[in-house]
Structures are given as structure tokens and as C-alpha cells.
């Protein structure tokens, strides 16, 4: 099995150390467009699609196997092993923040730093814990997904996927980024929103940066503080932005916080797109 093909791995940039960026629920590696280039001068930048997302090998998505985030963590570690990478900076958005946590616990030598972008160890409320959601809300999300997948069956691999730099190609393709097979998306949504990784947090010895958005419906501030308290070596940075995707809504602030955490000189002047 070709691990790099399976996860649609792309490598760019220069440097002895590597940075691997892993997208969150609902999208794929294109999410890092505004952030990844800023690190290409310092790191080998590794982008991938989780199995089931983007241009990964959808056929490899066995629901029974991918019933836990640990399976995705194992995939990421396989990619790092295939590329012979150690001591990487792992950047994970949303659900992939926890995938990074699990990978760092399993093989601490592979992951030197964790950058957790809009993370949450558990989305559902629990006694003494505010995740932000009730089970009924997750059912509602699945319904919203279903009603948006009417009329097209999955396994559409849009042309645009190969040409993110040429948006004109998307003219004929509605919402062509971040498409995924509806059946897989549904399953991954359940795995994501029903996960509970609170017990894993104390096991992380890796230094971590928590990038928390000031107004994030999916990961409320309380969740950011909870993570800071329960991760042994974590610093919390609250970004003055709204939504769940600071790497898209506030890329400069995101890059600056990462530069600071990684001990790099001030980030390059922001590149307007």
C-alpha cells in the first residue's frame, strides 16, 4: 500500500525539520493555503488529506477501521515514518488537533511540537464540562449534511482539486473545494463530534500551542482554558477572530502566533492574496 498516495501527501519547502499540517472536519489540505507558504523557508512543509477527505484514497475508508480518531493518528504516523521524519511540528485544525495529541502520545519521538488550531477534546457537554453541544445538535448537523447532499452521489473528484491556484476552473463546480463522499462525511462527523479525548490530555509530554478563536461556536473559550489546564506543557493564545478557521479568517495572526511559539524571527510581511 502506498501510504503517500493514500493520504494524498504533498511536500514543499526547504529545511531540515518538517512541519505537517492536517486539516479538520469538513475540508481538506486546501485550508492551509494562506498559512503554509509562510513556513516554506524554514521547514519541509508536509500537507495531507485524512483518509476519506479531499483526494485521499476514498476506497481505503473502512468505517469499522476509522471508527476512532486513533486510526487517523496511526495514518499520520505512517506518513511520517514513510518520509523518515522525526521531531516534526504537527499543526492540526479542529478534530485533527486531537489526532495530533494521539499521535504525540503514541510516538513522542516523531512529534516535537504541537500546534492545536481551534481544538476541542469533547464537543458534547458533560457533568462539570462545557463542550458546547447536546446529542440532539449533532443529529441536527447530520440532517443538515444529508439535506445538502441530495442529488449527487459521492466520489466526485473535482477538476479544481488539482488546480487550487486557478479558481476560474471552479466556475462550473459549485462549492468545489472540500468536497467529500457524503457517506464518509456523515461517518466522520459522528466520529468527530462524539469523540472524547479528555483522558488523553495529561499523557501529552510534547510542548503545545493552543490557538483559540475569541468567538468560535464549535470550540467555546471555556474549552480553550480546559485544554490549557489539562495539557502538561501548553500555552494558550486567543486570536481576535470569529469562526472556527483562524487560518482562513485571520491567517496573519495565526502565522505570527506560530512563529512566536516556534522561536522564529518575526514573520515575513503578510502576503496579500
Amino acid at each position: 500500500m502506498d501510504v503517500l498516495r493514500r493520504n494524498n501527501v504533498t511536500v514543499s519547502g526547504a529545511g531540515t525539520q518538517a512541519m505537517v499540517l492536517v486539516h479538520g472536519f469538513g475540508c481538506d489540505q486546501h485550508m492551509w493555503r494562506l498559512v503554509a507558504p509562510a513556513f516554506e523557508a524554514h521547514y519541509r512543509v508536509v500537507l495531507l488529506d485524512l483518509v476519506g477527505a479531499g483526494q485521499s484514497e476514498l476506497a481505503a475508508y473502512e468505517p469499522a477501521h476509522y471508527n476512532t480518531l486513533a486510526a487517523h493518528a496511526a495514518d499520520v504516523l505512517q506518513v511520517l515514518a514513510t518520509l523518515n521524519l522525526h521531531d516534526v511540528v504537527f499543526v492540526g485544525h479542529s478534530v485533527s488537533a486531537m489526532i495530533g495529541v494521539l499521535a504525540a502520545i503514541a510516538e513522542p519521538a516523531r512529534i516535537g511540537r504541537l500546534v492545536l488550531v481551534a481544538p476541542s477534546p469533547r464537543y458534547l457537554n458533560d457533568a462539570g464540562y462545557t463542550g458546547g453541544f447536546e446529542p440532539a445538535d449533532i443529529d441536527e448537523l447530520l440532517q443538515a449534511m444529508d439535506s445538502n447532499y441530495l442529488g449527487w452521489s459521492g466520489a466526485i473528484t473535482p477538476v479544481i482539486m488539482g488546480h487550487p491556484e486557478r479558481p476560474e476552473l471552479s466556475a462550473e463546480l459549485n462549492n468545489s473545494f472540500c468536497r467529500t463522499d457524503p457517506t464518509i462525511a456523515r461517518h466522520f462527523a459522528r466520529v468527530t463530534f462524539l469523540a472524547d479525548n479528555r483522558a488523553d490530555l495529561p499523557l501529552v509530554s510534547t510542548p503545545a500551542l493552543i490557538l483559540q478563536c475569541a468567538h468560535d461556536a464549535l470550540a467555546p473559550l471555556a474549552v480553550g482554558y480546559y485544554l490549557q489546564q489539562h495539557l502538561p506543557a501548553a500555552e494558550l493564545v486567543i486570536l481576535d477572530t470569529s469562526g472556527h478557521c483562524p487560518h482562513l479568517s485571520a491567517p496573519q495572526a495565526t502565522v505570527a502566533a506560530m512563529f512566536h511559539f516556534l522561536g522564529l524571527a518575526a514573520p515575513p510581511p503578510d502576503e496579500r492574496r
Binding site: G24, F25, G26, C27, H30, M31, R33, S94, F133, D137, I138, D139, E140, L141, L142, Q143, A144, M145, D146, S147, N148, L150, P167, S170, N174, N175, S176, F177, C178, H215, D216, A217, L218, T241, S242, G243, H244, C245, L248, S249, R272, R273
Partner: protein
């Protein structure tokens, strides 16, 4: 772009003067009362402008929403989750989203299904500036979408159930075949022993009862029948096992039929007039053992159930039929009372002529083989005149 062409005379003609009250649209009114919801938001979703249509749908006053609420806060919680994980990133990545389905939550708690189209405007520096959104009421459309979703879920459930049932049936079939095979195998030995012991007993013992001789003959018949039945059971299972392994091949009908007729010699087939005609369709594709068993059973029946006192005649022919061919086997024998026995004709171990020896396996096998070849068969029969089997096989 098409090159400009010169205007035609008709186009140069001035428009007729229309009543301006009908044509001069008031833009503000157009925006406020449009037949769809309009709103503008900051990049984080905060509403900065909304039209009256949207406010009326929602049951909110303008000051309750503008600068106070986000567009995504007007959706159900699940819808908002969807917006934050799919829509917001898409807007920032590709500048627009089209036809996203959401439920608006009205002030009174009820929901209104809408389709959202949104566009991201950027400032001169390329920074996100404003989101413009239109919302379309899809109450009716949503009903049949849900009907479609429901139907699809039902179809999926049915498919899963059928698959499970099929697997179960396949398993049970295999178990049944195994059972029949084991039973016939286990019965054969004691029945053969009985036959041997009985022969030995008749040789050595003396019976004084005047009824003994016919009783002995009846006992002999009964034993022969038991052995014949066991033989039939074994044959059914063995043939099935063979068929699972033998591929379909192209078979010449004339040659295989002549070969079968030679094998029928013990049944006095020499005294039978066979008439074969395969000129219309000389070949067919089938597993060889299947075709052999099928023809052998039909021809041996035709010979066995001849009407005493009439010279037996058997006609075998092939002809093209819709989507395949038809094989016809006709005889002038005893015939079967289909009114009485039609239901049971192809049942295992059913017999309609007890005076002729047989095990009741032949027609059961024929029917099973025809079904396996995705064909079907028809029977016509008149008692004391003869029987015609017509076998339709797809090509």
C-alpha cells in the same frame, strides 16, 4: 464576446411609451420587498443590513438583528455547525457558496427551510470586507426532498435486508444440500444391507403361508423403491455440486441428443421412433452436465411413460424465441392429468404413474436446471395422447 453586429431596423425602432409607474422600479422597495431574503454581513457573519422580506419571515424587528446577531445564529444549531465547518471555509477559499440548504429558526421557535447563496466581497487590499447573502424559501421543495431522502433510506434498508436474507438463504440451501447428501449417504448402506439379507433369507428360509409369495414380491418392490429414492437424492446433490464448478460451453444439440438416445438403450429405446430437428438453432451455451441431465430426464420420461399398445414416438427440436431459444420435447405417451397434478409436477419425489418404476426426481431436476439457466418451461398434456415440454432458455 461576440462581435457587435449592426442593429436591425426593428431594434432601432423606439420602444413604445409605457406607463412609467409600471417600469420605474423603486430600488429601495425592490430590495425591501423582494421575493427572497436579502442580507449583508461582516466576514464573521454579523448582520449589517437585511431586507423586510427576511424580517417578516423570521418575525424579528430590524433592531433585534442588525449589529446584534450573526447570519449563522439564525440557523438551527446543527445548521450553524454546518455553516462553521463547511460554508465559512468555502466562502474564504472560493469567495462564494451556492445552494446550501438550511433551516431558519423564527422568533417563535418554528423553522423555515431555505437555500442560501452567498458571496464574499474583498477590499482593495484583498481582505474580506462583506458577505452578501440571498435566502430562498423552499418549504414545498423541502417536503419532497425529505420524501426522497426517506425513500432512499427505506430503499437502503430494504437492500441491506435483502442482502442479509439472500446470504441466509444461500447458507440454508447449502445446509439442505448437505443434509440431503448426508441422509442419502447414511440410508444407502442399511438399505443395501436389507436387500442382501433379504436375498439370503429367501434362499435359506421356507415360508408356509400361501400369501408369502406375493408378499415377498411386494417387499422386493418396496426395497427397490427405497434404493431408487436414495439414488435420486444423491443425484440431485451431486449434480448441484458439479454445476457450481463447471463453466458454460457451446454444445451441439444433435450430437448430445444422439449420445443420450444411445444411453437409453436399456429402456428399449430401440423400439421408439425419435425425430430430431435442430436446424433452426444447432447450438446452445450451458454447462454440459446440466444440458445432459435435462435432456436425459425428458427423453427417458418420454420413453418410460409410453402408452402400452402404441408405438412410441418422440420429437425433439429447437427454435429461436424472444431473447433466446426454445427446446421442445414431445411424445405420444400416457400424458399427465395436469388438472389434477399440475401443482405437484415438479415437486421432488412426486409420482403420477405408480405402475411405472421411477423415483420422482426427474422433473424436479429438469425444473431446477432450467431455473438455474434463467429459463422457464411450459407443459402441455392430454391423457392418453401425449405430453409436450417447451423449455425457454436465454441466449
Amino acid at each position: 464576446m461576440l462581435p457587435r453586429r449592426p442593429m436591425s431596423a426593428a431594434e432601432e425602432e423606439e420602444l413604445p411609451a409605457l406607463d412609467l409607474r409600471l417600469t420605474a422600479e423603486n430600488l429601495e422597495d425592490l430590495y425591501e420587498q423582494a421575493p427572497c431574503g436579502y442580507c449583508s454581513c461582516l466576514p464573521d457573519g454579523t448582520l449589517v443590513k437585511t431586507n423586510q422580506t427576511l424580517l417578516s419571515w423570521l418575525g424579528y424587528a430590524r433592531e433585534q438583528l442588525v449589529a446584534r446577531r450573526c447570519l449563522q445564529e439564525l440557523f438551527t444549531v446543527g445548521g450553524r455547525l454546518h455553516y462553521e465547518s463547511f460554508c465559512a471555509p468555502l466562502l474564504l477559499l472560493q469567495g462564494q457558496v451556492r445552494e446550501i440548504s438550511y433551516q431558519l429558526r423564527r422568533a417563535d421557535g418554528t423553522t423555515l427551510p431555505v437555500l442560501l447563496n452567498a458571496q464574499l466581497l474583498r477590499d482593495a487590499d484583498g481582505q474580506p470586507l462583506l458577505i452578501r447573502a440571498t435566502l430562498f424559501d423552499i418549504t414545498e421543495r423541502r417536503k419532497y426532498e425529505q420524501e426522497l431522502l426517506r425513500a432512499r433510506a427505506e430503499a437502503d434498508a430494504h437492500r441491506a435486508l435483502l442482502t442479509a436474507k439472500n446470504e441466509q438463504l444461500t447458507r440454508i440451501n447449502g445446509e439442505l444440500d448437505n443434509f440431503v447428501y448426508t441422509a442419502s449417504h447414511d440410508l444407502k448402506q442399511p438399505a443395501s444391507n436389507m436387500q442382501g439379507l433379504f436375498e439370503e433369507l429367501k434362499r435359506t428360509a421356507t415360508f408356509h403361508d400361501p400369501e408369502a409369495a406375493p408378499m415377498l414380491a411386494m417387499f422386493d418392490d418396496a426395497l427397490r423403491q427405497i434404493l431408487g429414492t436414495i439414488e435420486g437424492m444423491t443425484e440431485v446433490v451431486q449434480l448441484q455440486r458439479q454445476l457450481d464448478q463447471v463453466p458454460r460451453e457451446k454444445i451441439a444439440l444433435q450430437a448430445i441428443t444422439e449420445e443420450i438416445i444411445r444411453n437409453l438403450q436399456p429402456l428399449q429405446a430401440a423400439a421408439v421412433d425419435f425425430s430430431l430437428d435442430f436446424r433452426a438453432v444447432p447450438h446452445l451455451r450451458m454447462p454440459r452436465p446440466a444440458l445432459h441431465s435435462l435432456l436425459y430426464n425428458l427423453l427417458s420420461n418420454a420413453v418410460k411413460y409410453a402408452l402400452p399398445g402404441r408405438r412410441p414416438q418422440v420429437w425433439v427440436r429447437s427454435a429461436p424465441a424472444a431473447g433466446g431459444l426454445v427446446l421442445t420435447v414431445r411424445d405420444n405417451g400416457r400424458g399427465i392429468d395436469l388438472q389434477r397434478h399440475g401443482q405437484d409436477l415438479f415437486q421432488l419425489f412426486r409420482r403420477f404413474h405408480p405402475e411405472v418404476p421411477g423415483s420422482g426426481v426427474g422433473l424436479y431436476l429438469v425444473n431446477r436446471l432450467v431455473r438455474q439457466a434463467n429459463g422457464h418451461l411450459e407443459v402441455a398434456s392430454v391423457v392418453n395422447e401425449g405430453t409436450t415440454f417447451r423449455i425457454f432458455l436465454p441466449s
